[in-house]
Subunit: 338 residues, 2 copies
Amino acid sequence: MNMSAQTNTAAANPSPYDAIAAHFQNDMMEVNRLIIDHMDSSVPLVKQVATYLIAAGGKRIRPLLTIAFSDLAGSVNDNAYKLGAAVEFIHTATLLHDDVVDESAQRRGKASANQNFGNKTPILVGDFLFSRSFQLMVGTNNIEALRILSDAAAIIAEGEVLQLSVHGKLDIERDTHLKVLEGKTAALFAAACESGALVGDAGNETQQAARNFGLHMGLCFQIIDDLIDYNETKESSGKNQGDDFFEGKITLPVFIAYENGSDEEKTFWENVFRKETRDAEDFDKAYTLIQKHDALNKTYEIAKEYHASAQKQLSSFANSATNKMLQALLDFTLNRHF
Amino acid sequence: MNMSAQTNTAAANPSPYDAIAAHFQNDMMEVNRLIIDHMDSSVPLVKQVATYLIAAGGKRIRPLLTIAFSDLAGSVNDNAYKLGAAVEFIHTATLLHDDVVDESAQRRGKASANQNFGNKTPILVGDFLFSRSFQLMVGTNNIEALRILSDAAAIIAEGEVLQLSVHGKLDIERDTHLKVLEGKTAALFAAACESGALVGDAGNETQQAARNFGLHMGLCFQIIDDLIDYNETKESSGKNQGDDFFEGKITLPVFIAYENGSDEEKTFWENVFRKETRDAEDFDKAYTLIQKHDALNKTYEIAKEYHASAQKQLSSFANSATNKMLQALLDFTLNRHF
């Protein structure tokens, strides 16, 4: 996805993402410094692969959330920087492993690490970055931060295995699908926000609000991502329409069309996801059924609920400039490309 | 390797491993209970794969070291159990990832997890167990234990990448090879001992002695393992003579024969490890050269130095029954099958 491209406002206005990134520019430089320092290794290949992915960029949305919530809860300090870097390392480690598991060819607009270095090195460099993230957390001396982030790491891994187990299955519970989405995005968003609030000196209650904000914004983010896949052309989103469908990934719009479909339609869905590959004709049929059952709007409505529930959490914090920027970022998460 | 089979003593005598395992039987039951509890997951496939490998057994030598050093340093408590389980989880996670990286077909006498479940699930379940290990450590509330074990995890991952980078290379520094061995075995042995001593209430100095004991015992252990591969028949060790050679793994006996070899011999070694596969004739030639340069005895001498340096560390602790059992275990590490 391309969070910095916003179609609703004039090009001269910075996107809410750009605004908050600019606001915390100096803090993010500290995070980046820690990221670069901790990628260092006496084994050249380790550094090479780690740098390959991390230098390719990415929005650093997760450390930005850590910093923002640290600020919101009190003040941004060194521990927030360390946790921001740790969160980005966990994210990067999961990307490396995901790309091996998914046999991905591309990541961040260039050949994926597994495409470039084979499968073996990215598995092991992922493990290295994961270890480094815990070394960074240990540096905060804050056992509660370690609890938050190790819990998130377990949820992420469980969610990924769950995703493998239900691959191609249409008759799964909605809760099961949400658990996959939690592992994929929301658990680390939640931990990024909560750990930021923790070291920024939040009380217990606001720490929980930070967590819920991240969780629900993460779910909103991922659901909109899955929706965009059916709704956008490459030009506006950087993705091809129907990528998920062609890769056999079943997302919320499909679940909704399936649940509301006739027996004949259900049979179509079951058959089409049982096939090795799907063609343009399959996609047209699928898209027609999705439209017939208003599944994109229904998907949007679900994302909207998570948006509302994330929004509610912000009222636990002072109505500062950061609070307003997080509100705008949350709104943008819901409304980008739609 | 089969640490419980000892050829030097009568069959009726328990091996030093069996003796120390029996001594700490109740403590190890607590560790096992934690292991089983923490393998639990709401995702059935996670539990299935985790159980598959952990139920296959293994000696649990690492948690046993944690418990023994906890006892040696003061007393065995709940935190030692948690760290023992955490250490075993890190070990199991690395086995899962190693088997994917090495494309292994067997582990602990049965089909490896990757053979049985494919590559994807073991990668992700490895990540899950790794996260669980950190959750267990967080449960000790001891940030220093987290530091020790996250440092070890980083060394392990770096060592594995290093091993990939130098695969098939004969002209590497001895230190580089030792760094591979440290990552493979010694770093986790060291962390198991040190973290045990830490929570058993050791002072700073004895904690360092525990660490050095584990490090040097681990190096001795791995070097003897590599030696046995050239020296044993399947009957006595459970491994085939020359497994490492046929798999193209270059170990200390080969490095020594290569370093001491003539130009012609060096060319033989370079060519034989450049080939896709090696046959029995290659092995015979290799074995002849290893014997010619007395490389097995020289390898043993190196292991003996690590044995001596590990032994020295034990004098930092009271001369208790546990101390004597660790001494016997260390001796056994050097002298099994030789």
